[in-house]
């Protein structure tokens, strides 16, 4: 491990939206960090198991020897510790809304839009259900440049890492056009906008590799549901 002023280590995975969003935050704030990649579909490194014995998941964030888990918590820690380019709103209500929608994306949208959808026998129904949820996000972004307002913030990083640069790849692999422009003009506009930002672009996994990776996960989910 190299010695850096800030002494930050991120254990992540190239395909994980959870660790990618942490990288976005670190880059936005100009925080230098060491990075260790886990190919978590294959194996878990001893370092990961040592630092995260409970969950054995990425991201694991280490700052001056202190270990933090859970991407949302890591993002807020980063925001409070390195205060330039704030990513959360200052007011408590704005914070509460950002936290609410972040949880909604990571829990409901990934469940209905991906994990359940993959196992569904009525794919059209599953797609409609997922689109109903995504419509909430369409409403949230309407009239705003970014979820964070004039500049990208916490929610842009959460939604960005999860939807366009992760779930969409899975949907592409399955031949599903989940967020067509006619139905989600604002969301698509926002996606084009965030892709223009360099620090976001640096955190987008390679498209082909990502589709392949997501299809592996699809395979696993289907296999698991058959043995259940």
């Amino acid at each position: 491990m190299a010695e850096k002023e800030e002494d930050v280590l991120l254990i992540g995975a190239w395909a994980s939206p959870f660790s990618r969003r942490v990288e976005m935050a670190l880059k936005l704030k100009g925080v230098p960090y060491d990075y260790s990649d886990e190919d978590y579909l294959v194996t878990k490194s001893p370092l990961l198991l040592q630092l995260n014995p409970i969950y054995k998941k990425v991201p694991v964030f280490v700052h001056k020897g202190k270990v933090l888990l859970e991407s949302h918590l890591i993002l807020e820690y980063i925001d409070q510790t390195w205060t330039r380019n704030p990513i959360l709103p200052q007011d408590p209500y704005g914070k509460a809304m950002a936290r609410f929608w972040a949880k909604f994306v990571d829990e409901q949208v990934t469940l209905i839009g991906f994990r359940s959808l993959v196992k569904s026998e009525e794919i059209d129904v599953a797609i409609k259900e997922a689109q109903e949820l995504i419509t909430y996000l369409e409403k949230e972004i309407t009239g705003k440049m970014f979820f964070g307002g004039e500049t990208i913030g916490f929610l842009d990083m959460v939604v960005g890492s999860m939807i366009p640069f992760c779930l969409v790849r899975g949907w592409e692999g399955m031949g599903i056009d989940m967020i067509p422009n006619e139905q989600f003009p604002e969301l698509n506009r926002w996606i084009e906008k965030i892709k223009e930002i360099e620090i976001v672009r640096e955190c987008i996994p390679n498209r082909e590799k990502n589709i392949e990776h997501m299809m592996k996960i699809v395979g696993r989910i289907k296999a698991a549901s058959k043995t259940a």
Binding site: L68, L73, I74, Q80, A96, F100, K103, Q108
Partner: protein
Amino acid sequence: MGLISDEYVRLLGAWPSPFVLRTRIALNLKRVPYEYLEEEDSLNSESVLNYNPVHKQIPILIHGNKPIRESLNIVMYVDETWLSGPPILPSDPFDRAVARFWDVYIDEHCFTSINGVAVAKDEEERKAAIAKLEMCMALLEETFQECSKGRGFFGGDNIGFIDIGFGSMLGPLKVLEKFTGVKFIHPETTPGLFHWVDRFYSHEAVKPVMPDIEKLVEFARLKKHTTSSLDT
């Protein structure tokens, strides 16, 4: 309906819900005056649907006309809005993240284990769920020792985020103890937690709103006959 002041606070809740309890303890701690509205049937309530169309769930805090949803979000909102009362979360960013982590753990593991025992279809499933819950208790005992540092609560000298998050689960836990005969919090295996329970129950912010255990047991019994889970 007249004009609602920006400062007016309402809480939509249900008395058996541990999630609602969290928000009431937080409001009490900060001495925030609020109107409490009992929503017996949240899935069919117009107010609940109006303020939380996404999840259709309580608790919902309505401050002025701003709805805040999800118990931990509400507790944080209360902490960040009413600054004159005792702090619920620590000010140090790392300690904050640790406190929040444990409440995430409590919701994702403890609460689901409590449910797991309640809805277990056979003895094998039940045993597995009980074992999981016992593991959660062991971990929380460790956490209590680390966080309290010899003082009375996870939050130190006063109740904090973890106390509120876990303390609100004591009702469902005690109900489970009655139904299974298993003691999850025990003076020998979890001494820290064991003594913490009484301290938590006696706290002035908790005592007036903690539901009566017998009423909870009765509620759980009724619910078991109609549905098969102890969820909110």
